[in-house]
Amino acid sequence: MKDYVASVVENKKIAENVYEITFETQEPVPVRAGQFGDIAVGGTHLLRRPIAICKADGNRITFCYQIKGEGTKTLKTMKVGEKTNVLMPLGNGFYVEPEEKKVALVGGGVGVFPLISVLRAYKAEKEISAYIGYRNKDAVCGVEEFARADHFVAVTDDGSYGEKQNAVQAFESALQNGYRPDVVLACGPTPMLRALKTVTEREGLPCYVSLEERMGCGIGACLVCVCDKTNGKKARVCKDGPVFNASEVQL
Protein backbone atom coordinates (compact mmCIF):
# COMPACT_ATOMS: atom_id res chain seq x y z
CA MET A 1 0.00 0.00 0.00
CA LYS A 2 1.34 3.36 -1.06
CA ASP A 3 -0.07 6.75 -2.04
CA TYR A 4 0.96 6.87 -5.70
CA VAL A 5 1.06 10.04 -7.74
CA ALA A 6 -0.84 8.93 -10.82
CA SER A 7 -1.29 10.78 -14.10
CA VAL A 8 -4.25 10.14 -16.35
CA VAL A 9 -3.36 8.56 -19.67
CA GLU A 10 -6.93 7.79 -20.76
CA ASN A 11 -10.45 8.48 -19.45
CA LYS A 12 -13.21 7.27 -21.76
CA LYS A 13 -16.82 6.16 -21.84
CA ILE A 14 -17.20 2.40 -22.31
CA ALA A 15 -20.95 1.95 -21.75
CA GLU A 16 -23.98 3.95 -20.69
CA ASN A 17 -22.85 5.86 -17.58
CA VAL A 18 -19.68 3.75 -17.25
CA TYR A 19 -16.16 5.10 -17.77
CA GLU A 20 -12.68 3.61 -17.84
CA ILE A 21 -9.76 5.62 -16.49
CA THR A 22 -6.13 4.56 -16.84
CA PHE A 23 -3.37 6.06 -14.74
CA GLU A 24 0.36 5.86 -15.09
CA THR A 25 2.48 5.74 -11.96
CA GLN A 26 6.21 6.37 -11.60
CA GLU A 27 6.83 2.80 -10.54
CA PRO A 28 5.03 -0.52 -11.02
CA VAL A 29 2.17 -1.24 -8.61
CA PRO A 30 2.08 -4.80 -7.23
CA VAL A 31 -1.61 -5.67 -7.54
CA ARG A 32 -3.49 -8.88 -6.75
CA ALA A 33 -6.77 -9.58 -8.54
CA GLY A 34 -9.74 -8.05 -6.74
CA GLN A 35 -7.84 -5.32 -4.90
CA PHE A 36 -8.88 -1.68 -5.11
CA GLY A 37 -7.52 1.84 -5.10
CA ASP A 38 -8.70 4.91 -3.23
CA ILE A 39 -8.71 7.75 -5.75
CA ALA A 40 -8.46 11.40 -4.69
CA VAL A 41 -10.96 13.30 -6.85
CA GLY A 42 -10.05 16.75 -5.47
CA GLY A 43 -12.21 19.85 -5.29
CA THR A 44 -14.53 19.93 -2.31
CA HIS A 45 -14.47 16.12 -2.03
CA LEU A 46 -12.90 15.18 1.29
CA LEU A 47 -13.40 11.47 0.76
CA ARG A 48 -11.50 9.49 -1.81
CA ARG A 49 -13.41 7.13 -4.07
CA PRO A 50 -12.68 3.41 -3.53
CA ILE A 51 -12.80 1.69 -6.92
CA ALA A 52 -11.80 -1.82 -7.96
CA ILE A 53 -8.69 -2.21 -10.04
CA CYS A 54 -9.77 -3.65 -13.36
CA LYS A 55 -6.41 -4.02 -15.10
CA ALA A 56 -2.90 -3.69 -13.68
CA ASP A 57 -0.05 -3.73 -16.15
CA GLY A 58 3.15 -2.67 -14.40
CA ASN A 59 2.78 1.06 -13.89
CA ARG A 60 -0.47 1.36 -15.87
CA ILE A 61 -3.51 0.90 -13.67
CA THR A 62 -7.05 0.90 -15.01
CA PHE A 63 -10.25 1.48 -13.06
CA CYS A 64 -13.81 1.34 -14.40
CA TYR A 65 -16.48 3.38 -12.66
CA GLN A 66 -20.16 4.12 -12.94
CA ILE A 67 -21.27 7.74 -12.67
CA LYS A 68 -23.25 7.62 -9.47
CA GLY A 69 -22.71 10.85 -7.54
CA GLU A 70 -20.69 14.05 -7.36
CA GLY A 71 -17.36 12.27 -6.90
CA THR A 72 -17.59 10.07 -9.97
CA LYS A 73 -18.90 13.06 -11.95
CA THR A 74 -15.71 14.90 -11.02
CA LEU A 75 -13.59 11.86 -11.88
CA LYS A 76 -15.19 11.85 -15.34
CA THR A 77 -13.85 15.36 -15.99
CA MET A 78 -10.21 14.39 -15.38
CA LYS A 79 -8.14 15.05 -18.48
CA VAL A 80 -5.15 13.21 -19.91
CA GLY A 81 -2.00 14.43 -18.18
CA GLU A 82 -3.80 15.50 -14.99
CA LYS A 83 -2.30 14.12 -11.81
CA THR A 84 -3.93 12.86 -8.65
CA ASN A 85 -3.16 10.56 -5.75
CA VAL A 86 -4.24 6.94 -5.64
CA LEU A 87 -3.74 4.93 -2.46
CA MET A 88 -3.28 1.33 -3.56
CA PRO A 89 -3.35 -1.61 -3.68
CA LEU A 90 -5.93 -1.97 -0.91
CA GLY A 91 -7.88 -4.92 0.47
CA ASN A 92 -7.25 -8.65 0.29
CA GLY A 93 -8.32 -9.51 -3.26
CA PHE A 94 -9.35 -12.82 -4.78
CA TYR A 95 -7.08 -15.78 -4.29
CA VAL A 96 -7.52 -19.03 -6.20
CA GLU A 97 -5.96 -22.10 -4.57
CA PRO A 98 -3.57 -24.15 -6.74
CA GLU A 99 -5.91 -27.16 -6.61
CA GLU A 100 -8.89 -25.10 -7.78
CA LYS A 101 -8.65 -25.59 -11.54
CA LYS A 102 -12.17 -24.73 -12.71
CA VAL A 103 -13.14 -21.18 -11.78
CA ALA A 104 -16.59 -19.68 -12.29
CA LEU A 105 -16.92 -15.89 -12.40
CA VAL A 106 -20.39 -14.52 -11.69
CA GLY A 107 -20.78 -10.77 -12.06
CA GLY A 108 -23.42 -8.13 -12.46
CA GLY A 109 -23.43 -4.37 -13.06
CA VAL A 110 -20.20 -2.62 -12.06
CA GLY A 111 -19.26 -5.84 -10.26
CA VAL A 112 -17.92 -7.17 -13.53
CA PHE A 113 -14.72 -5.08 -13.35
CA PRO A 114 -12.92 -6.77 -10.44
CA LEU A 115 -13.70 -10.06 -12.19
CA ILE A 116 -11.78 -8.84 -15.24
CA SER A 117 -8.74 -8.58 -12.95
CA VAL A 118 -9.29 -12.23 -11.92
CA LEU A 119 -9.56 -13.33 -15.51
CA ARG A 120 -6.34 -11.55 -16.44
CA ALA A 121 -4.48 -12.95 -13.43
CA TYR A 122 -5.56 -16.58 -13.77
CA LYS A 123 -6.53 -17.30 -17.37
CA ALA A 124 -3.19 -18.95 -18.20
CA GLU A 125 -3.47 -21.59 -15.48
CA LYS A 126 -7.20 -22.05 -14.88
CA GLU A 127 -10.28 -23.05 -16.80
CA ILE A 128 -12.45 -19.98 -16.43
CA SER A 129 -16.18 -19.67 -17.15
CA ALA A 130 -17.77 -16.23 -16.89
CA TYR A 131 -21.49 -15.56 -16.32
CA ILE A 132 -22.02 -11.86 -16.64
CA GLY A 133 -25.27 -9.94 -16.32
CA TYR A 134 -26.03 -6.43 -17.54
CA ARG A 135 -29.11 -4.23 -17.26
CA ASN A 136 -29.50 -3.90 -21.04
CA LYS A 137 -27.43 -3.76 -24.23
CA ASP A 138 -26.29 -0.17 -23.55
CA ALA A 139 -24.72 -1.31 -20.28
CA VAL A 140 -22.69 -4.09 -21.90
CA CYS A 141 -18.94 -3.60 -21.49
CA GLY A 142 -15.77 -5.59 -20.94
CA VAL A 143 -16.94 -8.19 -23.47
CA GLU A 144 -13.58 -8.25 -25.27
CA GLU A 145 -11.96 -9.18 -21.95
CA PHE A 146 -14.47 -11.87 -20.95
CA ALA A 147 -14.35 -13.31 -24.48
CA ARG A 148 -10.86 -14.59 -23.54
CA ALA A 149 -12.38 -16.88 -20.91
CA ASP A 150 -12.84 -20.56 -21.73
CA HIS A 151 -16.61 -20.08 -21.58
CA PHE A 152 -18.43 -16.76 -21.55
CA VAL A 153 -22.16 -16.16 -21.21
CA ALA A 154 -23.49 -12.58 -21.27
CA VAL A 155 -27.13 -11.96 -20.38
CA THR A 156 -29.33 -8.90 -19.85
CA ASP A 157 -32.30 -8.12 -17.63
CA ASP A 158 -34.38 -7.14 -20.66
CA GLY A 159 -33.04 -9.61 -23.21
CA SER A 160 -31.63 -6.84 -25.43
CA TYR A 161 -28.23 -8.61 -25.44
CA GLY A 162 -27.97 -12.37 -24.90
CA GLU A 163 -30.67 -14.28 -23.04
CA LYS A 164 -33.19 -12.45 -20.86
CA GLN A 165 -31.74 -13.67 -17.55
CA ASN A 166 -29.63 -12.49 -14.68
CA ALA A 167 -26.06 -13.70 -14.07
CA VAL A 168 -27.08 -16.15 -11.34
CA GLN A 169 -29.73 -17.73 -13.57
CA ALA A 170 -27.14 -18.09 -16.34
CA PHE A 171 -24.77 -19.76 -13.88
CA GLU A 172 -27.55 -22.07 -12.64
CA SER A 173 -28.37 -23.12 -16.20
CA ALA A 174 -24.74 -24.16 -16.66
CA LEU A 175 -24.89 -26.17 -13.42
CA GLN A 176 -28.04 -27.91 -14.68
CA ASN A 177 -26.12 -28.83 -17.83
CA GLY A 178 -23.49 -30.60 -15.77
CA TYR A 179 -20.94 -27.81 -15.17
CA ARG A 180 -19.27 -28.00 -11.76
CA PRO A 181 -16.61 -25.42 -10.88
CA ASP A 182 -14.06 -25.88 -8.06
CA VAL A 183 -14.67 -22.33 -6.86
CA VAL A 184 -17.07 -19.49 -7.61
CA LEU A 185 -15.89 -15.86 -7.50
CA ALA A 186 -18.48 -13.12 -7.65
CA CYS A 187 -19.10 -9.41 -7.50
CA GLY A 188 -22.27 -7.44 -8.06
CA PRO A 189 -25.34 -6.00 -6.38
CA THR A 190 -26.18 -7.49 -2.97
CA PRO A 191 -29.45 -9.16 -4.14
CA MET A 192 -27.43 -10.94 -6.84
CA LEU A 193 -24.82 -12.10 -4.33
CA ARG A 194 -27.56 -13.26 -1.97
CA ALA A 195 -29.18 -15.33 -4.72
CA LEU A 196 -25.80 -16.76 -5.68
CA LYS A 197 -25.00 -17.68 -2.08
CA THR A 198 -28.25 -19.67 -1.91
CA VAL A 199 -27.25 -21.59 -5.04
CA THR A 200 -23.61 -22.26 -4.06
CA GLU A 201 -24.59 -23.36 -0.54
CA ARG A 202 -27.23 -25.71 -1.94
CA GLU A 203 -24.68 -27.14 -4.40
CA GLY A 204 -21.88 -27.26 -1.83
CA LEU A 205 -19.61 -25.02 -3.93
CA PRO A 206 -17.02 -22.72 -2.31
CA CYS A 207 -17.92 -19.14 -3.14
CA TYR A 208 -16.08 -15.86 -2.57
CA VAL A 209 -17.81 -12.52 -2.99
CA SER A 210 -16.39 -9.01 -3.29
CA LEU A 211 -18.47 -6.49 -1.33
CA GLU A 212 -19.01 -2.79 -1.78
CA GLU A 213 -19.64 -0.25 0.97
CA ARG A 214 -19.27 3.48 1.56
CA MET A 215 -15.77 3.97 2.98
CA GLY A 216 -13.92 6.52 5.08
CA CYS A 217 -10.18 5.93 5.36
CA GLY A 218 -9.98 2.90 3.04
CA ILE A 219 -7.27 1.25 5.16
CA GLY A 220 -9.14 -0.21 8.13
CA ALA A 221 -8.79 2.52 10.73
CA CYS A 222 -12.17 4.25 10.86
CA LEU A 223 -14.64 1.33 10.99
CA VAL A 224 -17.04 3.00 8.57
CA CYS A 225 -17.39 0.26 5.94
CA VAL A 226 -18.26 -2.77 8.04
CA CYS A 227 -20.29 -5.82 7.09
CA ASP A 228 -21.96 -8.40 9.31
CA LYS A 229 -20.32 -11.76 9.66
CA THR A 230 -22.38 -14.87 10.28
CA ASN A 231 -20.59 -15.35 13.62
CA GLY A 232 -22.10 -12.10 14.92
CA LYS A 233 -18.90 -10.09 14.52
CA LYS A 234 -18.25 -7.16 12.18
CA ALA A 235 -15.62 -7.13 9.47
CA ARG A 236 -14.07 -4.17 7.69
CA VAL A 237 -14.86 -4.32 3.98
CA CYS A 238 -11.75 -2.25 3.10
CA LYS A 239 -9.19 -4.15 5.15
CA ASP A 240 -10.58 -7.61 6.00
CA GLY A 241 -12.24 -7.70 2.55
CA PRO A 242 -13.47 -6.66 0.10
CA VAL A 243 -13.43 -10.38 -0.73
CA PHE A 244 -15.11 -12.68 1.78
CA ASN A 245 -16.06 -16.34 1.87
CA ALA A 246 -19.79 -16.06 1.09
CA SER A 247 -20.65 -18.46 3.92
CA GLU A 248 -18.98 -16.16 6.47
CA VAL A 249 -20.88 -12.95 5.69
CA GLN A 250 -24.54 -11.96 5.96
CA LEU A 251 -25.80 -10.70 2.63
Binding site: E70, L87, C217, K239
Partner: protein, 305 residues
Protein backbone atom coordinates in the same frame (compact mmCIF):
# COMPACT_ATOMS: atom_id res chain seq x y z
CA UNK B 1 14.31 24.06 13.02
CA UNK B 2 11.76 25.49 15.41
CA UNK B 3 11.04 23.75 18.69
CA UNK B 4 7.65 22.14 18.06
CA UNK B 5 7.25 20.45 21.44
CA UNK B 6 4.41 21.51 23.69
CA UNK B 7 3.56 20.73 27.27
CA UNK B 8 0.05 19.65 28.14
CA UNK B 9 -0.88 18.95 31.78
CA UNK B 10 2.66 17.80 32.52
CA UNK B 11 2.87 15.63 29.40
CA UNK B 12 5.40 16.69 26.78
CA UNK B 13 4.26 16.18 23.19
CA UNK B 14 6.89 16.11 20.42
CA UNK B 15 4.70 18.50 18.49
CA UNK B 16 1.15 19.84 18.85
CA UNK B 17 -0.39 17.53 16.22
CA UNK B 18 -2.61 14.74 17.57
CA UNK B 19 -4.68 12.21 15.60
CA UNK B 20 -8.36 12.75 16.38
CA UNK B 21 -10.36 9.92 17.88
CA UNK B 22 -12.31 7.71 15.49
CA UNK B 23 -10.30 8.53 12.38
CA UNK B 24 -7.15 6.68 13.30
CA UNK B 25 -8.14 3.42 15.03
CA UNK B 26 -5.30 2.52 17.40
CA UNK B 27 -2.75 3.69 14.84
CA UNK B 28 -1.73 0.36 13.32
CA UNK B 29 -3.11 0.97 9.83
CA UNK B 30 -1.54 4.40 9.43
CA UNK B 31 1.73 3.01 10.80
CA UNK B 32 1.89 0.93 7.60
CA UNK B 33 2.20 4.26 5.74
CA UNK B 34 4.48 6.26 8.07
CA UNK B 35 6.03 6.16 11.53
CA UNK B 36 3.23 7.36 13.81
CA UNK B 37 5.86 7.85 16.52
CA UNK B 38 6.52 11.18 14.79
CA UNK B 39 3.07 12.45 15.84
CA UNK B 40 2.50 14.53 18.94
CA UNK B 41 -0.14 12.07 20.05
CA UNK B 42 -2.86 9.64 19.08
CA UNK B 43 -6.35 9.84 20.52
CA UNK B 44 -7.67 6.30 20.23
CA UNK B 45 -10.93 5.09 18.80
CA UNK B 46 -13.59 5.71 21.49
CA UNK B 47 -13.44 2.92 24.07
CA UNK B 48 -16.28 1.56 26.18
CA UNK B 49 -16.28 -0.96 29.03
CA UNK B 50 -17.76 -3.68 26.82
CA UNK B 51 -17.31 -4.35 23.13
CA UNK B 52 -19.74 -2.44 20.91
CA UNK B 53 -20.79 -3.31 17.38
CA UNK B 54 -21.87 0.20 16.37
CA UNK B 55 -24.54 1.37 13.96
CA UNK B 56 -25.83 -0.21 10.75
CA UNK B 57 -24.27 0.88 7.42
CA UNK B 58 -24.06 3.23 5.57
CA UNK B 59 -22.14 5.04 8.27
CA UNK B 60 -20.71 7.86 6.17
CA UNK B 61 -21.78 10.47 3.65
CA UNK B 62 -20.14 13.41 1.95
CA UNK B 63 -21.41 16.92 1.42
CA UNK B 64 -19.42 19.79 -0.15
CA UNK B 65 -16.40 20.46 2.04
CA UNK B 66 -17.56 18.19 4.85
CA UNK B 67 -18.40 14.60 5.69
CA UNK B 68 -20.99 13.09 8.03
CA UNK B 69 -20.41 9.94 10.05
CA UNK B 70 -22.34 7.76 12.44
CA UNK B 71 -20.12 4.82 13.32
CA UNK B 72 -21.72 4.50 16.75
CA UNK B 73 -18.66 3.76 18.87
CA UNK B 74 -17.82 0.36 17.42
CA UNK B 75 -14.84 -0.81 19.49
CA UNK B 76 -13.49 -4.03 20.99
CA UNK B 77 -13.85 -2.85 24.60
CA UNK B 78 -11.29 -1.31 26.95
CA UNK B 79 -9.82 -4.62 28.20
CA UNK B 80 -9.13 -5.76 24.66
CA UNK B 81 -7.39 -2.45 23.96
CA UNK B 82 -5.26 -2.75 27.10
CA UNK B 83 -4.27 -6.33 26.28
CA UNK B 84 -3.75 -6.09 22.53
CA UNK B 85 -3.02 -2.53 21.44
CA UNK B 86 -1.79 -0.35 24.28
CA UNK B 87 1.79 -1.62 24.59
CA UNK B 88 2.28 -1.50 20.86
CA UNK B 89 0.90 2.05 20.60
CA UNK B 90 3.15 3.21 23.45
CA UNK B 91 6.17 1.55 21.83
CA UNK B 92 5.81 3.81 18.78
CA UNK B 93 6.81 6.75 20.98
CA UNK B 94 3.71 8.86 20.41
CA UNK B 95 1.69 10.14 23.36
CA UNK B 96 -1.27 7.84 23.96
CA UNK B 97 -4.60 9.49 24.68
CA UNK B 98 -7.36 7.00 25.46
CA UNK B 99 -10.72 8.33 24.28
CA UNK B 100 -13.48 6.85 26.45
CA UNK B 101 -17.27 6.83 26.46
CA UNK B 102 -19.96 5.38 28.69
CA UNK B 103 -23.68 5.01 29.11
CA UNK B 104 -23.79 5.89 32.80
CA UNK B 105 -21.78 7.95 35.27
CA UNK B 106 -20.54 4.68 36.78
CA UNK B 107 -19.26 3.61 33.36
CA UNK B 108 -17.18 6.77 33.08
CA UNK B 109 -15.65 6.31 36.52
CA UNK B 110 -14.89 2.60 35.94
CA UNK B 111 -13.33 3.00 32.53
CA UNK B 112 -11.15 5.86 33.76
CA UNK B 113 -10.05 3.75 36.74
CA UNK B 114 -9.08 0.90 34.41
CA UNK B 115 -6.88 3.19 32.30
CA UNK B 116 -5.45 5.30 35.14
CA UNK B 117 -1.66 5.26 35.02
CA UNK B 118 -1.58 3.21 31.81
CA UNK B 119 -1.91 5.99 29.23
CA UNK B 120 -0.56 9.53 28.90
CA UNK B 121 -3.97 11.19 28.96
CA UNK B 122 -7.63 10.28 28.93
CA UNK B 123 -10.12 12.09 26.70
CA UNK B 124 -13.73 11.96 27.80
CA UNK B 125 -16.22 11.60 24.97
CA UNK B 126 -19.39 13.10 26.42
CA UNK B 127 -20.91 14.18 23.18
CA UNK B 128 -21.43 11.12 21.04
CA UNK B 129 -25.06 11.13 19.88
CA UNK B 130 -25.43 7.55 21.14
CA UNK B 131 -24.37 8.29 24.68
CA UNK B 132 -27.59 9.16 26.46
CA UNK B 133 -28.46 10.15 29.99
CA UNK B 134 -32.16 10.52 30.68
CA UNK B 135 -32.75 11.12 26.99
CA UNK B 136 -30.02 13.79 26.91
CA UNK B 137 -26.36 13.38 26.06
CA UNK B 138 -24.02 14.20 28.95
CA UNK B 139 -22.31 16.85 26.88
CA UNK B 140 -25.25 19.19 26.31
CA UNK B 141 -26.13 20.79 29.64
CA UNK B 142 -23.40 22.41 31.79
CA UNK B 143 -24.71 20.65 34.92
CA UNK B 144 -24.23 17.18 33.40
CA UNK B 145 -20.86 18.17 31.88
CA UNK B 146 -19.65 19.08 35.36
CA UNK B 147 -21.18 15.95 36.88
CA UNK B 148 -19.70 13.48 34.40
CA UNK B 149 -16.29 15.21 34.58
CA UNK B 150 -16.28 14.97 38.37
CA UNK B 151 -17.21 11.27 38.26
CA UNK B 152 -14.54 10.46 35.68
CA UNK B 153 -12.03 12.35 37.81
CA UNK B 154 -12.94 10.13 40.80
CA UNK B 155 -11.56 7.16 38.86
CA UNK B 156 -8.25 8.90 38.21
CA UNK B 157 -5.26 9.29 40.49
CA UNK B 158 -2.44 9.72 37.99
CA UNK B 159 -3.60 10.36 34.44
CA UNK B 160 -4.68 13.86 33.37
CA UNK B 161 -8.23 14.21 32.07
CA UNK B 162 -9.27 15.96 28.86
CA UNK B 163 -12.99 16.63 28.41
CA UNK B 164 -14.05 16.75 24.75
CA UNK B 165 -16.82 19.27 24.24
CA UNK B 166 -19.76 19.10 21.89
CA UNK B 167 -20.46 22.12 19.69
CA UNK B 168 -24.20 21.35 19.70
CA UNK B 169 -24.80 23.42 22.83
CA UNK B 170 -26.20 26.72 24.02
CA UNK B 171 -22.93 28.12 25.34
CA UNK B 172 -19.52 26.65 24.60
CA UNK B 173 -17.93 28.95 27.17
CA UNK B 174 -20.44 27.77 29.79
CA UNK B 175 -19.72 24.12 29.08
CA UNK B 176 -15.97 24.74 29.07
CA UNK B 177 -16.26 26.32 32.52
CA UNK B 178 -18.44 23.41 33.66
CA UNK B 179 -15.73 20.94 32.65
CA UNK B 180 -13.13 23.02 34.49
CA UNK B 181 -15.34 23.18 37.59
CA UNK B 182 -15.78 19.40 37.42
CA UNK B 183 -12.01 19.00 37.65
CA UNK B 184 -10.93 18.63 34.01
CA UNK B 185 -7.21 19.15 33.43
CA UNK B 186 -7.76 20.12 29.80
CA UNK B 187 -10.57 20.50 27.29
CA UNK B 188 -10.68 19.57 23.62
CA UNK B 189 -13.12 20.83 21.01
CA UNK B 190 -15.02 20.60 18.79
CA UNK B 191 -16.62 17.22 18.47
CA UNK B 192 -18.79 16.90 15.35
CA UNK B 193 -21.82 19.06 14.56
CA UNK B 194 -25.03 17.07 14.16
CA UNK B 195 -26.20 17.02 10.55
CA UNK B 196 -28.16 15.20 7.87
CA UNK B 197 -27.61 14.45 4.18
CA UNK B 198 -30.46 13.19 1.99
CA UNK B 199 -30.50 10.87 -1.00
CA UNK B 200 -33.21 12.68 -2.96
CA UNK B 201 -33.86 9.74 -5.31
CA UNK B 202 -34.82 7.53 -2.38
CA UNK B 203 -36.10 10.39 -0.19
CA UNK B 204 -34.09 8.97 2.68
CA UNK B 205 -31.08 10.05 4.69
CA UNK B 206 -27.86 8.61 3.23
CA UNK B 207 -26.68 7.45 6.67
CA UNK B 208 -28.57 4.53 8.22
CA UNK B 209 -28.58 6.36 11.58
CA UNK B 210 -30.43 9.24 9.78
CA UNK B 211 -28.21 11.89 11.36
CA UNK B 212 -24.44 11.99 11.57
CA UNK B 213 -21.61 14.08 12.93
CA UNK B 214 -20.38 16.72 10.49
CA UNK B 215 -16.62 17.24 10.22
CA UNK B 216 -14.00 18.34 7.74
CA UNK B 217 -12.71 21.57 6.19
CA UNK B 218 -16.13 23.24 6.11
CA UNK B 219 -16.57 23.27 9.90
CA UNK B 220 -13.29 25.05 10.60
CA UNK B 221 -14.56 28.63 11.13
CA UNK B 222 -17.10 27.38 13.69
CA UNK B 223 -14.39 25.36 15.42
CA UNK B 224 -11.92 28.26 15.51
CA UNK B 225 -14.56 30.56 16.99
CA UNK B 226 -15.48 28.01 19.65
CA UNK B 227 -11.82 27.31 20.46
CA UNK B 228 -11.35 31.03 21.01
CA UNK B 229 -14.46 31.37 23.21
CA UNK B 230 -13.62 28.29 25.27
CA UNK B 231 -9.99 29.29 25.80
CA UNK B 232 -11.11 32.73 26.98
CA UNK B 233 -13.47 31.11 29.48
CA UNK B 234 -11.08 28.71 31.24
CA UNK B 235 -7.63 28.62 32.78
CA UNK B 236 -6.87 25.01 31.77
CA UNK B 237 -5.23 24.22 28.41
CA UNK B 238 -7.33 23.75 25.27
CA UNK B 239 -6.86 21.34 22.36
CA UNK B 240 -8.48 22.68 19.20
CA UNK B 241 -9.87 20.71 16.29
CA UNK B 242 -12.39 20.86 13.48
CA UNK B 243 -11.53 20.93 9.79
CA UNK B 244 -7.75 21.22 10.10
CA UNK B 245 -6.22 20.32 6.74
CA UNK B 246 -2.84 22.08 6.67
CA UNK B 247 -0.29 23.79 8.94
CA UNK B 248 -1.90 27.20 8.39
CA UNK B 249 -5.21 25.84 9.68
CA UNK B 250 -3.47 24.45 12.77
CA UNK B 251 -1.85 27.84 13.41
CA UNK B 252 -5.27 29.52 13.40
CA UNK B 253 -6.32 27.23 16.26
CA UNK B 254 -3.09 27.89 18.17
CA UNK B 255 -3.54 31.65 17.83
CA UNK B 256 -7.17 31.29 18.93
CA UNK B 257 -5.90 29.80 22.18
CA UNK B 258 -5.16 26.12 21.63
CA UNK B 259 -1.99 24.53 23.00
CA UNK B 260 -2.30 21.57 20.64
CA UNK B 261 -4.58 20.47 17.80
CA UNK B 262 -6.23 17.31 16.57
CA UNK B 263 -6.59 16.26 12.95
CA UNK B 264 -9.35 13.88 11.89
CA UNK B 265 -11.13 14.02 8.56
CA UNK B 266 -8.02 15.25 6.73
CA UNK B 267 -6.49 11.81 7.33
CA UNK B 268 -9.11 10.41 4.92
CA UNK B 269 -8.44 12.98 2.20
CA UNK B 270 -4.67 12.55 2.49
CA UNK B 271 -3.31 9.75 4.68
CA UNK B 272 -0.10 11.77 5.08
CA UNK B 273 -1.97 14.90 6.24
CA UNK B 274 -0.47 14.91 9.75
CA UNK B 275 3.22 14.48 8.85
CA UNK B 276 2.70 17.25 6.27
CA UNK B 277 1.12 19.53 8.89
CA UNK B 278 4.06 18.93 11.25
CA UNK B 279 6.55 19.80 8.48
CA UNK B 280 4.47 22.83 7.56
CA UNK B 281 4.41 24.07 11.17
CA UNK B 282 8.17 23.82 11.28
CA UNK B 283 8.71 25.81 8.11
CA UNK B 284 6.07 28.40 9.00
CA UNK B 285 7.77 28.98 12.35
CA UNK B 286 11.17 29.26 10.66
CA UNK B 287 9.85 31.74 8.09
CA UNK B 288 8.28 33.85 10.84
CA UNK B 289 11.21 33.60 13.19
CA UNK B 290 9.18 31.73 15.80
CA UNK B 291 11.57 29.70 17.95
CA UNK B 292 8.97 27.72 19.90
CA UNK B 293 5.60 26.78 18.45
CA UNK B 294 4.13 27.20 21.94
CA UNK B 295 4.71 30.96 21.60
CA UNK B 296 1.82 31.09 19.12
CA UNK B 297 -0.86 30.02 21.58
CA UNK B 298 -3.41 32.73 22.29
CA UNK B 299 -1.64 35.43 20.28
CA UNK B 300 -4.77 36.41 18.37
CA UNK B 301 -5.37 40.17 18.34
CA UNK B 302 -9.03 41.00 17.88
CA UNK B 303 -10.12 44.06 15.94
CA UNK B 304 -11.08 46.87 18.32
CA UNK B 305 -14.80 47.53 17.94
Amino acid sequence: MANLSVSLCGVTLKNPVIAASGTFGFGREFHELYDIGTLGGVSTKGLTLEERLGNPVPRIAESRGVILNAVGLQNPGVEHFIQHDLEWLKSTGTAVIANVAGKTLDDYESICAKLDGLVDMIELNISCPNVKSGGMAFGIQPQSVEQVTARAKKGLKKTPLIVKLSPNVESIAGNARAAENGGADCISLINTLTGMAIDIERRKPIIANNTGGVSGAGVKPVAVRMTYEASQAVGIPVIGMGGITCAEDAIEFLMAGAVAVQVGTANFTDPYAMPKIIDGLNSWCDRHNVKNVSELTGTLQLHQR
